[in-house]
Symmetry: C2
Subunit: 110 residues, 2 copies
């Protein structure tokens, strides 16, 4: 009788999926895109304009966000529209930002 395969804790946290999601959020340009998409569905060219990044760079990061299931894609004529897959994404972003601010505030080093 072998041991169960789970080596972790009770409340099973999928660390692999979590790390993957965190990695998708771990780039400032991607966060800017997410924040921009929080205003609603937008085309690539609009994102490029509003964020002032190159079109291939936007395309690359949008691809990563899509890979992480953070955005959904929809074609309409010559335009391709990206949209946040879930409103909760903004909540996480705010939470992360708040934690970051809190950690910076609490640090007692100068």
């Amino acid at each position: 009788m072998k041991e169960p395969l789970t080596t972790g804790t009770m409340q099973s946290v999928n660390l692999q999926a979590t790390a993957f999601l965190a990695k998708a959020l771990a780039d400032e340009n991607r966060l800017r895109i997410i924040q921009n998409l929080a205003q609603g569905k937008k085309s690539v060219s609009r994102i490029v304009e509003e964020l002032g990044i190159s079109q291939p760079l936007a395309s690359h990061h949008l691809k990563e966000l899509k890979r992480a299931l953070l955005v959904t894609v929809e074609r309409s004529g010559p335009f391709i529209y990206y949209e946040l897959a879930d409103p909760c994404i903004m909540t996480i972003l705010t939470d992360l930002n708040n934690l970051a601010a809190s950690l910076l505030a609490d640090r007692t080093k100068f």
Copy 2:
């Protein structure tokens, strides 16, 4: 009269700090360490034992977590104890995990 420096949205989100924090959370071994430290303050050797990773690797990731202000360090004799800097860290981890699960569940591709 020049424009204000902020190019972002109303509720100012420090994307740089947020991306930096996300990057610190974007590694499975670091998440395992955080999850392990959720049980309380622990020495490096204990973390190494319980997670089954090499000592230098643990040391490296602990250094990263410290750099991100996610853990605090304390020496006691020959041992060095690491501790989560803030309980909220576990909340974020759970939230990230929940979002990851939700995104995976909501995807309508097979």
